[in-house]
Symmetry: C2
Subunit: 515 residues, 2 copies
Amino acid sequence: MSDGILFVSVVYSFVCNTLAIPNLLFMSKAIPSRSEDYSHWYNELVKKAGLAENSSTRGCMVIKPYGFAIWEKMQQLLDQMFKETGHENAYFPLLIPKSFLSREADHVEGFAKECAVVTHYRLRTDEKGAGVVVDPEARLEEELIVRPTSETVIWDTYKSWIQSYRDLPLLINQWGNVMRWEMRTRLFLRTSEFLWQEGHTAHATKEEAQNETRQMLDVYAKFVEHYMAVPVVKGVKTASERFAGAVDTFCIEAMMQDGKALQAGTSHFLGQNFAKAFDVKFVTKEGKEEFVWGTSWGVSTRLMGALIMAHSDDDGLVLPPKLAPIQVVIVPIYFKGEGLEKVMEVVKPILKSLKEEGISVKFDTRDTHKPGWKFAEYELKGVPVRLAIGPKDLKKGTVEVARRDTKEKYFQPIDSIVEHVAGLLEDIQDNIYSKAAAFKEEHTKGATSWEQFKELVEQGFVYAHWDGTPETEDKIKEETKATIRCIPLNQTKEEGRCIFSGKPSQGRVLFAKAY
Amino acid sequence: MSDGILFVSVVYSFVCNTLAIPNLLFMSKAIPSRSEDYSHWYNELVKKAGLAENSSTRGCMVIKPYGFAIWEKMQQLLDQMFKETGHENAYFPLLIPKSFLSREADHVEGFAKECAVVTHYRLRTDEKGAGVVVDPEARLEEELIVRPTSETVIWDTYKSWIQSYRDLPLLINQWGNVMRWEMRTRLFLRTSEFLWQEGHTAHATKEEAQNETRQMLDVYAKFVEHYMAVPVVKGVKTASERFAGAVDTFCIEAMMQDGKALQAGTSHFLGQNFAKAFDVKFVTKEGKEEFVWGTSWGVSTRLMGALIMAHSDDDGLVLPPKLAPIQVVIVPIYFKGEGLEKVMEVVKPILKSLKEEGISVKFDTRDTHKPGWKFAEYELKGVPVRLAIGPKDLKKGTVEVARRDTKEKYFQPIDSIVEHVAGLLEDIQDNIYSKAAAFKEEHTKGATSWEQFKELVEQGFVYAHWDGTPETEDKIKEETKATIRCIPLNQTKEEGRCIFSGKPSQGRVLFAKAY
């Protein structure tokens, strides 16, 4: 490295690493620390890392290119997993006749209060000069709601698609946008409009539908753990947390760095509820007419929130390599243009080899920003591996390697850099998962007394006995703001007394405060 | 082949090929012929080939799995082309504050009459027992419109993204759904909701924005010609056909089999119109403040309509291999289960090899349908290549190959089948394009008299002189229903007289009736 840059690099290391204070000197966009204000840290990180921002439409977000690139990777991987399990994509209308919602009693109860309603289909210029106004003559006979979820319109369609057992199973997924009007919104975590996928399947037997529900829960768990590097607890919701219209709702729950839970995906066994509501019957092999069995399952841009909150630190995002739009960034170190050409010569074959390995790499040759600024920028953006190469490195035949997850920096021979980086990306993926798993382990406790419960539930997940009644569930929520996240699938049968009521219980359930 | 099947096959060939009458005997779903009723043929084909159908929501369609699989292929290819030209994806809100629309005078004029309007954000249970009703207390202060296109909300966002020349160019694309209320709808061609992509770019100079507009027109033309196998005419719209808010609208126009034009994509040079409407300025290198230059460009699920109408025939879809979800189908010929195992043995390595070549192949072993039924089904679905293998073929070491485009059938040695199919798919792609190009050539004429014009414009594209006034354009439309599709980019300067008014003209423009 040239001396000027060496100086910058030393100061940078000093400021950022030795003293562990925010690297304001070189960062374009400082963010608050997690310990200071976790919630503020999250909001600022989302905006400053270029992931998303609030739009002029109340409660709706703009997903910025860098954020969208991560979501696209998630989509591609999930889509592949859905197809491998036999599902096909299709597309159903955005707008749903209002009356459809009322067909399933629980469903309307659950969604009516958060529906955006289309009442007119035309604007016109105001005669009194008030600009453009709703044309009162273009009122719809029946109002349309912007889909909050698509069970109703899809089951209405399935009625004509399903006649015989030969038409089953019907395994459909839809990628799209939905609206659930929210009064208090947070980027990715709770927005009035969000992007998601919703699977809707129809089956000839109860057992097959139940297997599908569990299969898709497993697909979600595998995706979140393997690609997002976030460990999850699989379980089933209590009646009060169930999807409106489902017989059973299964979920995966992830732990964020503040110890709170985030529901990362749900898979619903719908029984014959929607089949009955929309009169979807089929003729069995034996010639009998029966109602169809259904499932639905979904994950949304909320996963972006989970990804950010599970791994990131006070310097910015920490992205698992499998989801990072840029896996490796190469920053050339040169001084007033000198030496750039020589660096280029060496970097070009490295770029080519990395790309051939399927590694996405960016070579940032901009002369409008100094290396120190770039270092901070790519830390903020969570790029897993940074390589820095300057004239001094060339002489020594080495590259400076910095990994985002542990902040380690070291020199590596240029000759073996491609091989090294490929292995390093795998290491980082594993390490990020292990770190999150250790954190979850550490912040998951069992409680045996109410006092202990109240204390522990402020810090993380708590397994405790519950008497099985919604009344107790409500009271615990009132007093602690903690909810039953799920009855874990791996629950062991164990005699005990409810943490709150002291009544008998057969096993522990998972409590936590939640997003 | 076993005798039973041989019989079926002979009858099938006899009925379908020799007499050229609809193969009702074996087809699950017959469609009308093009000559009988082109419009009816299209509608029935779309439904029966499993592409799309009308939904219970007026004017909105359901895109069925097979149709969506084609659209997905289109999306992937286009997305790649956009990324190769430097664009990134992002996502902006579905709902737009009503007042945004009024900011650009032409824009509101163009879209106000077809906007779905959200006025309320909640439903409630009716006290009088009328089910669920709009909650009058949940009226929005400002109505929101479902985006008919996103220039307004995007330029509102760009205001905060763009400060200096360093922030330019801004090259963004969005995939999503839009609503334009339509009174008369047709599947894929004109629906109230449709899926599309909309590119929105911002530039420092007029020239750069103009180049972008033309570059994206070229991308569209390349996509439609190379992948969809549909030849297009590139041109610029007249003022009356211009996008509401654009300075110039460029388009590609394709010819359908009834001689009508279909606008397959548009690319707009927006000048500084939206920058001025939303006050988007930037500081130049020289420190001056200037308005930004903009473009927008889009293609939609309308392309599905073009694809279907350009190539298909009276037996069903004809899909170009590059967009076919299933490129090759293998149908085993066996009789009452006998021989299937031996066929399987031979087919398995063929399947593997085809997949290794990147060819998507389906092996249809269903025993619920006879080979003849399957043949008709895959013809209806436009699968480019069908292979049939029975015990007799095994003895001879051959496979029966049928190509969908020409309906040719012949035997091919099993040993070379993979290589043969790979080449055949390329041939089919080329042949489909050549056929469409020849048809377009044949149905494109020049007119020199009004009488001749009126006659020719019933049959296809007509190049004719026009005096350049919107009045003449309107009158020609009134009398013939033909419109100026575009002023072709390759127009040659040529002195002439307007076909209608006889006034002087400098070159011919393209007239046609259009979808």
